[in-house]
Amino acid sequence: MNFPWLSWLVFLPLAGGVLLLATPAAADRWHRRWAMTVALAEFALSLPLWWRIIPWQPGWQLVEKRAWLPALGAQYYLGVDGISMLLVLLTTLITAVAILGAFGAVRERTREFYALLLALEAGMIGTFLALDLLLFYVFWEAMLIPMYLLIGAWGGQRRVYAAVKFFLYTMAGSVLMLVAILSLYFMQKGLTGIPTFELDAFYAMPLAPAAQVWLFLAFALAFAIKVPMFPFHTWLPDAHVEAPTAGSVILAAVLLKMGTYGFLRFAIPLFPTASVQFTPWIVALALIGIVYGALVSMVQPDLKKLVAYSSVSHLGFCMLGLYAMNPQGFAGSLMQMLSHGVSTGALFLLVGIVYERRHARLIADFGGLWKPLPVYSAIFLAVMLSSVGLPGTNGFVGEFLVLLGAFRANWWWAAIAATGVILSACYMLWMFQRVVFGPVTHEENRELKDLSLRERLVFAPLLILIFWMGLMPQPFIDRMQPALNRTIELSKQRAAAAAVMHAPPGAPFRLPTGGAR
């Protein structure tokens, strides 16, 4: 395969964004069209991955490997498997949808806005495709900059606070991961003599249980903040509420998945012993997140905040599925990641649409929207039910599999998590009732315009996915399951290898022996 498919995927949006910056500032209609064209081209470019990736073939596919920093051994190393393929497709789809959805909302500084969205897309795709840990870290951190600027420059009232908080929280979590990556690198180098940041090399390196603990904690902190898991979630409501709609959509649909992806790709297979050791803690936090997120959602007067807290709850399911550590849990977790991306992305778009029309987001500002906005309300209904996890929609598949996996691991976990399902039905249905049903409570809502053709086009792919994933999830599961099973297999092997290690082969860090070397 000579065509550098993955590099194109990473750099096409970046190039599109940079070109956009070179255009005159006033031509906002052209900025939109250009951004949409690039996003669609990117989506078209990513779509063949669905067929090209051979799920049962072990190892990475469409690999690209080039020397990057030879002095350190870092490489430009991209590759894809069934897991990252699905997340890349989610990213390209959601970005296109978010750009199309932003046409009406963003009227000023359009050039910079769309350029940043495209740069963000490049960063996200790079994060999912990077197989060199230093390269992964570069994408992981670099992606913060466009998101930070999107929240800070186009956000709501408290946008600066939210943007800075978002950046600092994520960065604070990540820097220790960098130290852990460097430690892994030196341990690997000490063992084999070859300096490299390749994920495969780290997968192949046995790690003593004692060393795993600290490294795992450093990785887990970075990912837990991103997910976000319960005590680290406070940046999320702020960022979501203040971000412009397109920002919220991408934040919820893709950025949060990077945390769970990080656990799936790095934290669990690299440090399986420590993962098992910390399972009670992580599951406890995930369960708290599920119930707490749902309870807090219930009392939110603000639609956007409600959706934001519902994300905390739904991502709790993803974490629970991962730490059930069985095929059902893994598959459920990944399905839940995808379906949360689609459903919550759609929910943020729906909130954005009424906000655009009414400049209000409080539940109390609405009521009886079905009469003036029948199409909108019908779409809202479908999306809301998918978020609740109604059988036949995408939300059901993920939650069901997660609960199945959790039940196999420990039926208590499933019992507590199931209350989250019930609670999510409560807050979503109650919210929907107050916003859509009943008589029109505010006169100004009577005159609202229903969805335009463009807005219907925004929701079309999301609705298709909601029902496709809900009714026929098998094509998705088929594509992810072999890679997930391999991850489980790898984790088991590494845990077994760690168990027989008595003395660590080189403690993680040598003690200082003085500077004279």
Binding site: L21, A25, A67, W68, L69, P70, A71, L72, R109, E112, L134, Y137, V138, F139, E141, A142, L144, I145, Y148, L149, G152, A153, R159, V160, A163, V164, F167, L168, M171, A172, V175, L176, L178, V179, L182, S183, Y185, F186, F509, R510, L511, P512, T513, G514, G515, A516, R517
Partner: protein
């Protein structure tokens, strides 16, 4: 390496001396040119300075593979010296470009300005290339005296005078320490020559001599003063704020790099690596420098002052690399210094073009809304801030990774953790600048930008390098690694 038996001055390899000669000739020529009166808006001095710097860089490039010891072993021409000479010529050239329009606007366009700039550059080159503590001291003083004058060059501004006086008094004090350290080292080893000091110390029980330790530490104080490490940093914010901004740009990069160059050569060449007793000292100083610099920078509302504290913090990061020791630490320090010079020159460079005429618009509030009003200026400042904060995909990130990786390899885990947490703290104040640039509306009269071609060239060059080294740092990395090989 062969040391001449007697201090014969001949034969001299003129090519190896080319860089020094070009700078000296340029400085003297500029002083002579004063006899020919020029128009007030003349650029001839800047052109002469630029040519001298280019000639110097060319000379050192042509002789880059040669390894020479000149003047009875007092001056060496090796990879290390070449690396730093090129760096100082680049810093000097960027400073000239930044000054070009700035000195005219602020009415300090005298030929002496550029003569002093060349003298300071010459001093820096000497510091990096000297193999003898006496020549190090000569270079240090040549650089410092020129900088004292340059800091006070805006004679009619009170801040400028105050800055110069403060810098001079504290600097003179530090020079005293430095000289006393040389004296003690001479007492302990019987020589001021680094190579002979190394020969004397090799295998000698005198390595633990308290006289040697005391002398070394006094010398270290002198260096730490010049790099603005805590607790010898007090002069920095005032001197950086009061100096003409182009001078601040120059000295924040050049003086720091020169002092580190001399420190590294002394540590690696004379002591054969920093002794074990030094590592905790360097480590504690590095921790303090990073923390005090970053925490104090959080409170600043004047960008020059903020960048002054940030430059203190960056000295701390370089000290982490120095504490890591060995050729790895030295090459990490070299790499970081090059990267730091580029991004810091860029950041101060943007400050030089803010405001019309002689006004200084360098408050945080002055850059509000600039990002959308002047996209390129805003982008440049934002990228420099992001790079100073060590966020990819910029050179600052690769620099920090390299420094922390080296320290981790040397087993300095606590230092690394303090370092990375510090960079999180630092991101807060660098982000404040981007907040002002992109997320706030200007209050009062918006800041005008004095966009002049030479300064624009310098800023765009720094911007391009900051981004380029962020994605393709391999070449510079290898250069840094190769440059320190000759030291051991």
């Amino acid at each position: 390496m062969s040391v001449l038996p007697a201090p014969f001055l001949l034969p001299v390899d003129w090519w190896a001396l080319g860089a020094v000669l070009a700078l000296s000739v340029g400085a003297m020529l500029l002083l002579l040119l004063e006899f020919l009166p020029a128009r007030p808006g003349s650029s001839r001095a800047a052109v002469v300075a630029l040519v001298a710097l280019a000639a110097s860089a060319l000379a050192v490039t042509l002789a880059r593979d040669a390894r020479r010891t000149l003047f009875g072993g007092m001056f060496v021409h090796d990879g290390f010296a070449v690396f730093f000479t090129l760096l100082f010529c680049a810093i000097g050239a960027v400073a000239v470009l930044l000054s070009w329009d700035y000195v005219k606007r602020t009415r300090i366009n005298h030929d002496e300005y550029y003569a002093l700039l060349l003298c300071a550059t010459l001093g820096m080159v000497l510091m990096a290339a000297s193999n003898d503590l006496i020549t190090v001291f000569l270079g240090l003083e040549l650089m410092s005296l020129a900088l004292y004058v340059l800091v006070g060059f805006r004679r009619n501004r009170l801040e400028s005078n105050e800055a110069a006086l403060k810098y001079f008094l504290l600097g003179a004090f530090a020079s005293g320490f430095f000289l006393y350290g040389i004296a003690l080292l001479y007492g302990a080893t019987g020589t001021t020559n680094l190579a002979r000091m190394a020969e004397f110390l090799a295998g000698s029980p005198l390595r633990a001599d308290p006289l040697l330790l005391a002398g070394g530490l006094l010398l270290l104080v002198g260096f730490l003063f010049k790099v603005a490490a805590v607790p010898f940093h007090m002069w920095t914010p005032d001197a950086y704020e009061g100096a003409p901004t182009s001078v601040t740009a120059f000295m924040s990069a050049g003086a720091k790099a020169a002092a580190f160059a001399a420190l590294l050569r002394f540590g690696l060449r004379a002591l054969g690596g920093f002794p074990a007793e030094w590592v905790p000292v360097l480590g504690v100083v590095a921790m303090l420098t990073m923390t005090v610099g970053n925490v104090t920078a959080l409170l600043q509302s004047n960008l020059k002052r903020m960048l002054a504290y940030s430059s203190i913090a960056h000295a701390g990061y370089v000290l982490v690399a120095v504490a890591a020791g060995g050729p790895d630490g030295a090459s990490a320090a070299l790499f970081y210094l090059a990267v730091y010079s580029v991004m810091n020159l860029g950041a101060f460079g943007v400050l030089t073009i803010l405001g019309r005429g002689a006004q200084e618009r360098v408050l945080m509030a002055d850059v509000r809304g600039l990002g959308f009003r002047r996209p390129l200026v805003g982008l440049a400042l934002a990228v420099f801030m992001i790079s100073l904060g060590g966020i990819p995909p910029t050179a600052g990130f690769i620099g920090k990774v390299y420094v922390f990786a080296t320290a981790l390899k040397a087993g300095l885990l606590p230092l690394v953790i303090v370092g990375v947490l510090n960079s999180v703290v630092s991101v807060y104040y660098y982000l404040r600048v981007t907040v002002a640039l992109y997320m706030q509306e200007p209050q009062g009269e918006p800041t005008e930008v004095s966009w002049a071609a030479p300064a624009a060239m310098a800023i765009v060059l720094a911007l391009a390098l900051t981004l380029w080294w962020g994605v393709q740092a391999g070449g510079l990395l290898e250069q840094a690694q190769r440059s320190v090989l000759g030291l051991l």
